[in-house]
């Protein structure tokens, strides 16, 4: 047989023919780099998740319970009865396609099943088959299909290729929140124990030790002390961080990633410095030691269980209100779910800044304030003194984290802070920021090392916009207010725009912050020389 020509070898090239198969007949192919590892049985068992066992997505046998089909169908039934939104979203999509090219995973992959409309259709087709007359009668011709094992595998594959960022929902004329469909899809997977290792590990850890990484109290204490050692080297000021201090006015909750990884640690250092400078009566907690809530990526019940620990700790420590750190989905859970789960909290006080007297009325119900809101208020009242030139080596742009921007509606505070502490700030193009922000590509538990390829292509639209401001304005620092961003964006930048680094907003604040009694600063929080202080 003759050798093929190269263009024939690239077999997908076919300008004229339609695809040989209808989308329902194309099975999901599990390629390394695009799926997360399966959960460990012990992590599922620890939080009483169903069907706890070790499993792997690439093995033929997913070790499902015998009646798995009934469990999923019954799971759909319960959810359409319980969540009116989900029921409506299953019925009303007209497949106009307005969402199709709004998803960063679709934009990065070109895989049609990553279009939000088709990703939802994967589940909708099953819903139609078992819950609508049209689907029952017309079957495939009515857009319905049986729930077979391959269909289940496809659902799993694509629901773990959505970061629940909700950019698509912004463009839906019907207001369908495709992220909610993913959330329901993942709940159904959870019923069969089809969790991923990168989500279920943190869930189990969070339930036991209070944070994703499993940092135990003594470790957290020594880590904070290490950070204070570095702060002393940089500023000459020794800080003694209050830990589990009963009767403190404020409970401080930081994402645990900021205690153990660069560049998050600089945010934790910045927070320690800021609170010290204003003399805040606050406390860290070794149990409410995590803002993030990976339970939210498994089931709403699990999210609620993990969320309650923060209030239990607030009660135990007898604080007045809670201040939360630069975290992402922590804020979505708080703003969109908390009141439904618990209603207004009745044992804390309405947050009032002890420094400026500002009443944070928006937090009347949840009793929690975001660090950027708190800091912006301090700056607005002229409480803090800054030397902006210390950040002059940084030409900064700001990435709106999906959960804080679209999920919580906070756009201005971080920008106000950055402009107050930096001389060089440039926005990315309008269609990539604020409510239209592109996801970092690693949200909703998709920041696992094994899916680096998926993360890189999912984050491409974001990186592409960063590259534009890098080339146009010389931007070299990407600021954000989310711990997942601080884990995902550094490799994303390394791949697409290696000249740009990543930081938290509070790091920039602490760099510029003039502290009472500090020595002449020669280096920033990263221990790099300040502008004009090279060689000192």
């Amino acid at each position: 047989m003759r050798l093929p020509r190269p263009e024939e070898l690239i077999s997908t090239v076919n300008l004229k023919k339609t695809p040989p198969k209808w989308w329902m007949d194309l099975k999901a192919e599990f390629k390394p780099g695009f799926y997360c590892y399966g959960a460990k049985g012990k992590n599922l068992a620890y939080v009483d998740f169903p069907n706890a066992r070790d499993w792997s997505p690439t093995e033929e046998d997913w070790k499902l319970p015998e009646d798995w089909k009934r469990i999923v169908i019954e799971g759909i039934r319960q959810r359409i009865e319980r969540f009116r939104t989900f029921h409506i979203f299953m019925d009303i999509c007209v497949r106009c396609g307005a969402c199709a090219d709004k998803c960063h995973f679709f934009l990065g992959t070109g895989d049609p099943k990553n279009m939000p409309v088709l990703r939802a259709e994967l589940l909708r087709s099953v819903y139609r088959r078992y819950f609508t007359s049209g689907g029952k009668i017309f079957g495939r011709f009515g857009g319905a299909r049986d729930l077979e094992l391959d269909v289940l595998k496809e659902l799993w594959y694509y629901f773990y290729q959505c970061t629940e960022c909700r950019r698509c929902s912004l463009f839906c004329p019907y207001g369908i929140d495709t992220a909610e469909i993913t959330i329901m899809g993942r709940e159904l997977m959870n019923l069969l124990g089809l969790n991923t290792d990168w989500i279920s590990g943190p869930v189990a850890n969070c339930y036991r030790t209070g944070n994703h990484l499993g940092i135990e109290p003594h470790t957290m204490k020594s880590t904070l002390e290490f950070l204070c050692d570095d702060i002393e080297t940089i500023t000459g000021i020794r800080i003694d961080p209050p830990i589990n201090k009963k009767g403190a006015e404020i409970l401080w909750v930081e994402p645990s990633g900021d205690l153990f990884a660069v560049p998050g640690v600089y945010v934790a250092m910045g927070t320690l410095m800021l609170f010290h400078e204003i003399g805040l009566d606050y406390t860290w907690s070794t149990y409410a030691s995590e803002g993030g809530n990976f339970g939210y990526f498994t089931s709403l019940e699990m999210a609620k269980r993990l969320h309650s620990k923060i209030y239990e700790e607030a009660k135990r420590l007898k604080v007045k209100w809670i201040l939360g750190g630069e975290c992402g989905h922590m804020w979505r859970v708080w703003h969109q779910y908390h009141d439904t789960w618990f209603g207004p909290i009745d044992f804390l006080e309405e947050p009032v800044s002890p420094i400026t007297g500002t009443k944070f009325e928006h937090a009347k119900s949840t009793k929690i304030v975001h660090i950027s809101e708190f800091t912006a208020d301090l700056i607005r009242h002229g409480v803090l003194k800054f030397d902006k030139s210390r950040n002059d080596n940084f030409i900064v742009t700001f990435h709106d984290s999906c959960n804080v921007s679209r999920g919580m509606g906070m756009f201005e505070e971080p920008r106000y802070i950055i402009k107050s502490v930096c001389n060089h700030f440039y926005e990315m193009p309008d269609e990539t920021i604020r409510e239209q922000t592109f996801c970092c590509g690693g949200g909703s538990g998709l920041n696992a090392g094994e899916i680096m390829e998926l993360r890189m292509r999912g984050g491409f639209p974001r990186a592409n916009a960063v590259r534009y401001v890098h080339e146009k304005f010389g931007v070299n620092m990407l600021a954000c207010i989310c711990a997942i961003d601080r884990a995902q964006l550094p490799p994303l930048m390394e791949y697409w725009v290696p000249q740009v680094r990543v930081c938290g907003v509070t790091e920039l604040v602490a760099n510029a912050l003039i502290m009472k009694g500090e020595k002449e600063r020669t280096m920033n929080l990263r221990m790099e020389p300040l502008p004009g202080k090279e060689g000192q």
């Binding site: 190269p6 300008l15 090219d101 070109g110 049609p112 279009m115 090392g449 491409f460 916009a465």
Partner: protein, 171 residues
């Protein structure tokens, strides 16, 4: 007419055909979106492919040296290295460029010149392979580094490992 003049004359149709063929390596339902090449921020893949191909064709016409082809090839291959392609598919678009050029000029071009040009384009395929490997290696390097960065800091802080301190050298 000299072959490079011919290429220059047909520049736009060559670019369009190369782009169409390259887009056709993506699934059918996605092509209509990817083909929209002006939306720099809301269709970064289509934009990057188009402008990468445009620069490659212009460099072929201008008979530029091999190093000058690296930046536009990197633009395209960096994207395809993390998409659903096996390696040959990821770099194979070079042969689509070849195919597009051949089909548009073979009737008018002199045989020897045409053979020479097509053979030169082959060297882009070798270059593309190097670039593809560079970015795949980068992915694995990043995977390893991510794991190291998440643990190294702790090991150092807890004095489980230590490095030569700058202050020792200063003494």
């Amino acid at each position: 007419m000299e072959i490079y003049d011919l290429l220059s004359k047909k520049r736009n149709s060559i670019i369009d055909k190369c782009f169409d063929l390259t887009i056709s390596t993506y699934p059918e339902q996605s092509r209509i979106f990817l083909r929209e090449r002006k939306r720099q921020f809301t269709n970064p893949v289509g934009y990057t492919l188009y402008h990468g191909i445009e620069r490659i064709i212009d460099k072929i016409i201008a008979q530029e040296s091999l190093e000058n082809f690296i930046p536009p090839l990197e633009e395209i291959i960096r994207v395809r290295a993390v998409q659903d392609f096996i390696p040959s598919e990821a770099v194979g678009f070079i042969f689509l460029i070849k195919e597009a050029i051949y089909s548009l000029i073979y009737k008018e071009a002199k045989y020897n010149e045409l053979m020479d040009l097509l053979s030169r384009i082959d060297s882009l395929a070798l270059l593309a392979f190097d670039i593809f490997m560079k970015y795949r290696e980068k992915i694995y390097d990043m995977k390893a580094r991510e794991l190291r960065d998440r643990t190294w800091w702790i090991l150092k802080k807890y004095n489980i490992i230590s490095e030569i301190d700058d202050s020792i050298l200063e003494k």
